[in-house]
Amino acid sequence: MENSVDKHILFENFSGRSTPLRKQQIEDWLRDPGNIECYYEWLDEWERTNSLFTPDTATTLNNITGHQQTSPQPVPSTSRPKTLIRFRLIAAAIATIALITAIYALKNIFLYRSMSTAYGETRSIILPDGSLVSMNANTTVRYSRFGFGKNNRDVFLSGEADFTVTHSGSQPFTVNTDKDLKVRVLGTRFTVYTRGEKATVVLREGKVELQYKEEKQLLQPGDLFTAHKGARANVRHVANPENLSAWKDHEFLFEETSMSELAGMIKDNFGLSVHFDDQALSNRRISGSLHADTATELLDVIAQLLNIHYTIREGTVYFSE
């Protein structure tokens, strides 16, 4: 029998969704030693896209190899006694400032729990109150280490995340951003985006109250709120609010999306800049949906669709005819 085990079949198996018949099929397939290599290759890929957590690799490597980072050079002491006292005073002042800065920085680390995703990585976390946060790539979410769900339900966001908030009688859930924008909720599902100069909120279920600058505003399900720096904020109704958080499953959705908009998505998700050799290229539009875990997967499909070429050099994607 022709044995066709592909990546999809194995991914389903890793996620515990294989029928006994499939398992037998995989077992037969694994009898070929070459396929065992393949198995681990795909296991590695699956693990990278479904990571449970990200350990501190650099520190562990240092501990293992015993090569501590060299500490900064000590300030050379001056031999001239006249300036010594002054020097000591300055040194003491610098040390005090450094200490205060360190305490201030550590205070945040101590008081807040912070989660970040790298470029190309999406992850879901469950907050202590049971609310679910799906983080898109290159996103940081911070919340109180102590008292979250008790004294407050305040979350600080930079990047893009999707929230499914649990209902909790009196305790409002608030998402704070650095764009003068706050979202206050009582149990609902919505997405907040805040990168560069743009901030958006899309509501899928329930009710939220926005506070943008001084103004407060209520959103209805399906509403998309957009605020650009230097432009008036506006709210419009969208037909399929789900589409706007499709990135949760590494799914990219395009609806008459221009290549320049795509460039923004690539920057947000993979940290790559985009350059168009011919400016006309940036106006071409694409529609459709596709699944891509890496920048190259996405770029390959785009290049095929538009029949164009791309190269990646030093963190920049170059598109050409």
């Binding site: 592909d6 990546k7 699944h291």
Partner: protein, 203 residues
């Protein structure tokens, strides 16, 4: 030699004509690349290998032991062993296959020691596993996840905070506004359910 892979064609917009072959070439290059550095400058090669695989391996080990701390210990130990015994000179499979096999074995042995009926024998040298064992390990991983999903909500929360995050009972009690004794009771319950369901896998 490797069989050519089947390209996955379930997503209409996913273009997979030559892509798999390219990806394969790239990955093989990575392996060869690391092998070359390991030969020239072992310390540097080790660092490259470590940086590439430490993260995903820790995540993988966590699926078995459900503790970030234990998982990191297991993976570090595998890397140390790899380094101390200069296994990079003798491993015949790809390093990736070796590392995953070793981490899975050690995680499994850890579970045996913690939840098994009798003490596991000392960690045996890593052998290549037969197809059935490879699949069984995958199944065990799913089984553990499913079991934890069946815990009552509060018990699950306590278990994840204590075991997965490694938080202190006192902290958990404060955070969830329950008594430390209740935290202990939840943990006892969780671990006994886990032990029961794991017993058939840990013989």
């Amino acid at each position: 030699m490797k069989e050519p892979k089947q390209s996955s064609g379930n997503n209409p917009l996913r273009i997979a004509v030559d892509k798999d072959a390219d990806e394969q070439a790239l990955l093989m290059d990575n392996e060869t690349f690391i092998r070359v550095i390991l030969k020239d400058d072992p310390e540097k090669g080790f660092a490259v290998l470590f940086k590439k695989y430490y993260g995903p391996l820790c995540s993988h080990a966590t699926r078995f032991v459900y503790s970030k701390e234990i998982a990191q210990d297991i993976v570090s130990e595998v890397f140390l062993n790899f380094w101390n015994k200069q296994l990079y000179l003798s491993v015949t499979s790809t390093f990736r296959a070796y590392l995953y096999t070793a981490v899975r074995n050690n995680a499994y042995n850890h579970l045996k020691q913690e939840f098994g009926e009798k003490l596991a024998t000392t960690t045996e040298p890593v052998e290549d596993l037969d197809p059935q064992s490879i699949l069984l390990l995958g199944e065990l991983m799913t089984k553990i996840e499913r079991t934890i999903e069946t815990f009552p909500p509060q018990c699950q929360k306590v278990f994840l905070l204590s075991r997965f995050e490694g938080r202190k009972n006192r902290e958990i009690a404060d955070e969830l506004q329950i008594r430390p004794k209740t935290v202990e009771a939840h943990m006892m319950k969780a671990l006994s359910i886990l032990k029961k369901t794991l017993s058939e896998y840990l013989k």
